[in-house]
């Protein structure tokens, strides 16, 4: 699919969105946007001594994107850029402060408890730290059984069959050997497979993977990424892949969004963005990422010093301007740049491209 056709699709879904968000599911299932995020803001209130307003932490500030059925998108950013808050809001763990999230054209903001329960069967979550994500007192069978029980699968035989199928899908065979094991008896890679099996067991349409391989050893990392990619293709899953590691992005997703200080500063098709980064922040990220090469030891890397700004009082204008090498006085520190199209749906939020 070319970028152009993808754009058209996004446009049609935008039209559909104008209709009141009824509880009727999408009229054209499995096509168009599965998830739409519109001008999302997630702010956390700061209080002084437990009461008395002391400002907001603007973790996510005006983020919009669409994710089609079966599409993969990577969200890249450093710690504190708001990528986890964005993810948790999409998962329904935080409430949006402003803006909307639509899932199959249904507005997530006003989901009832019941609808939320349904929503959670549609969205799988792969956590960063597999050992922390698995209850230590449950064996693999019980861990995988839990979501089925909560989702109301009453027949034990059916549950067992689905557990086995899920384990086979994540290549934990022979299944019998793993079912009675507890998390501490598994290696890091196997634990992450169980986490993935648990996320997949209710056949979700969307998978949110939060740094799924950052805690794993290099030799296992690729194995897990390949597994996720195989599952994504086999089930036509939409995947949000959250990472700080640019070098794994290409193996996994087609689109990429770069976040800085609560905002998306650049987005586009992966290969285009990585080979031709436009925003100075993305350029810095790429410059700072090393490939194994002895020549690295001979040179200093040109990276901006300093740290990301406070999200309580972010800098006026472009939030990257205090660290930016291309800072334009009276422009970058005054007005917030809009998204500039730098070609084929590649957007950069930077005044350099006005």
């Amino acid at each position: 699919m070319t970028q152009a056709t993808a754009d058209i699709k996004i446009d049609t879904t935008r039209d559909e969105r104008v209709k009141p968000a009824s509880d009727a599911p999408s009229t054209r299932p499995e096509q168009g946007a599965l998830l739409s995020v519109r001008n999302l803001r997630v702010w956390f209130e700061l209080r002084r001594f437990g009461f008395g307003h002391a400002g907001y932490v603007r973790a996510v500030d005006d983020v919009s994107f669409d994710l089609n059925y079966g599409e993969t998108i990577a969200i890249v950013g450093e710690s504190g850029c708001g990528k986890s808050s964005l993810m948790k809001t999409i998962l329904g763990l935080h409430r949006p402060t402003e803006g909307e999230i639509y899932f199959e054209n249904r507005r997530l903001n006003d989901f009832s408890r019941r609808e939320m329960q349904w929503y959670r069967t549609q969205v799988g979550y792969v956590q960063q730290d597999p050992y922390g994500a698995l209850p230590p007192f449950m064996n693999v069978r019980r861990i995988l059984q839990e979501p089925l029980i909560i989702a109301g699968v009453k027949d034990p035989a059916e549950r067992e069959a689905r557990i086995r199928k899920a384990l086979e899908e994540v290549k934990m065979t022979p299944v019998e050997e793993f079912l009675p094991k507890f998390p501490h008896m598994l290696s890091g890679g196997q634990q992450q497979r169980v986490v993935i099996a648990r996320a997949m067991i209710l056949n979700p349409k969307l998978l949110v993977a939060d740094e799924p391989v950052s805690m794993l050893d290099a030799s296992v990392r690729v194995e897990i990424l390949r597994l996720l990619r195989a599952l994504q293709q086999a089930h036509n899953l939409a995947v949000i892949y959250i990472t700080h590691d640019l070098s794994t992005v290409r193996y996994f997703s087609r689109r990429i969004m770069v976040m800085y200080a609560g905002q998306v500063v650049e987005q586009g098709e992966v290969n285009d963005l990585l080979s031709n980064p436009k925003h100075p922040y993305t350029q810095a990220l790429i410059e700072a990422t090393s490939d194994p090469d002895a020549a690295n030891a001979m040179k200093f890397r040109e990276v901006p010093s300093g740290e990301p700004p406070s999200l309580v009082r972010p800098p006026a204008g472009c939030r990257f301007h205090p660290r930016c090498a291309y800072f334009i006085a009276d422009v970058c520190d005054k007005e917030t740049p809009p998204d500039f199209d730098v070609g084929q749906g590649h957007l950069a939020r930077c005044w350099l491209y006005r």
Partner: protein
């Protein structure tokens, strides 16, 4: 700096170093016969995956041992002086931190929360060199400048600093006694890429300007190449390959090193990375013979025996493939591929 017994000898020589732990399940052979040499103003990178014994190796060099040590043998020479022969007290007084310092793993989270960071950096000087506090604090400020922490941060507490700044403070603590050698255990693993690049820049500068020597212990091969003069690859308690970084990153010799390099995702290449099938062996009763044999794509009959360390063009590799038997084996498999 303390007196050196010989200026001709390399900075650090580690010979047949063994560190075994006693556990309820048996003896864990965390470090099992490690040899390597480090020259002055050189950085050796020790690459390995979790559980390969790389952090234990650092502890064995600095003699920071837990209570359940089963066996601790071997020799380490610092400028030719045998430091393993020193008594614990003497080692603590003359070697540890005065001549070999360390930035331990997750050091940034290990700073004392109730001490100002400046006092913490000054502390080794007061304890190890008996310096007066005012003088030690002056030195601390100097170190802060060197590692890129604003000078007025000496009066701050650890919680007032970001992760990157705390990591720099930990580095300042290691630098402050002007040791001959600093051991860095995963110095950048929990940090963001930009912070990581900044700290690697700082380390390069310290190496160049102060002539500092480093042992860098890491699982992150890409970042390790930022500092490496030489690379040692560790697997299951043993070093399987040591060589010059330039040659190593171009063409690793040991099959494990080759596979490990192939598993690194690269930003600037489109080739898909591979993974290594299977898991490292348990260090309780590790297999006799080559410890990587089970997972090795080049395995042959001889691998059931303990592999020798072969020297090839100044590089050391612990693998049967580089013996006469192995060469025949390689030729055989090569011609098979051509058929």
């Amino acid at each position: 700096m303390a007196n050196r017994s010989s200026f001709d000898a390399p900075l650090l020589q580690v010979r047949e170093l063994v560190l075994h732990f006693r556990t309820s399940k048996g003896v864990v052979q965390a470090v099992d016969g490690v040899d390597f040499t480090l020259n002055a103003n050189e950085a050796v990178v020790i690459i390995g995956e979790s559980g390969c014994g790389k952090s234990s190796l650092a502890k064995a060099i600095l003699r920071l041992l837990p209570r359940n040590v089963h066996r601790y043998t071997g020799k380490t020479f610092l400028y030719g002086q045998e430091v393993m022969a020193l008594s614990d007290e003497e080692f603590r007084r003359t070697i540890r931190w005065n001549r070999i310092a360390m930035v331990p793993q997750a050091a940034m989270n290990a700073l004392n929360p109730v001490l100002r960071v400046g006092d913490q950096v000054a502390e080794p000087l007061m304890i190890h060199q008996g310096m007066r506090k005012s003088k030690a604090l002056e030195k601390a400020v100097e170190m802060f400048r060197l590692v890129g922490v604003p000078e007025d941060f000496v009066h701050r507490y650890a919680f007032e600093l970001s992760g990157g700044m705390r990591q720099r403070v930990a580095l300042a603590m290691a630098l402050v006694t002007s040791p001959d050698l600093i051991i860095l255990d995963e110095p950048t693993s929990a940090l963001d890429v930009l912070t990581q690049a900044n700290i690697m820049n700082q380390l390069k500068r310290i190496k160049k300007e102060m002539g500092m020597s480093f042992i860098l212990i890491t699982h992150d091969i890409a970042t390790s190449s930022e500092l490496a003069d030489r690379v040692a690859v560790m697997y299951a308690g043993q070093i399987v390959e040591v060589g010059d970084a330039l040659r190593f990153f171009q063409e690793p010799l040991h099959p494990y090193a080759q596979k490990l390099m192939a598993s690194v995702p690269r930003l600037r290449e489109t080739k898909d990375p591979e993974f290594i099938v299977g898991q490292p062996p348990s260090l309780i009763n590790p297999p006799t013979g080559c410890r990587f044999a089970d997972r090795c794509h080049r395995r042959f009959a001889r691998c059931a025996e303990e592999p020798p360390v072969i020297e090839q063009h100044g590089r050391l590799v612990k693998c049967w493939l580089y013996t006469e038997d192995g060469v025949n084996q390689r030729d055989a498999s090569h011609s098979r591929h051509q058929d």
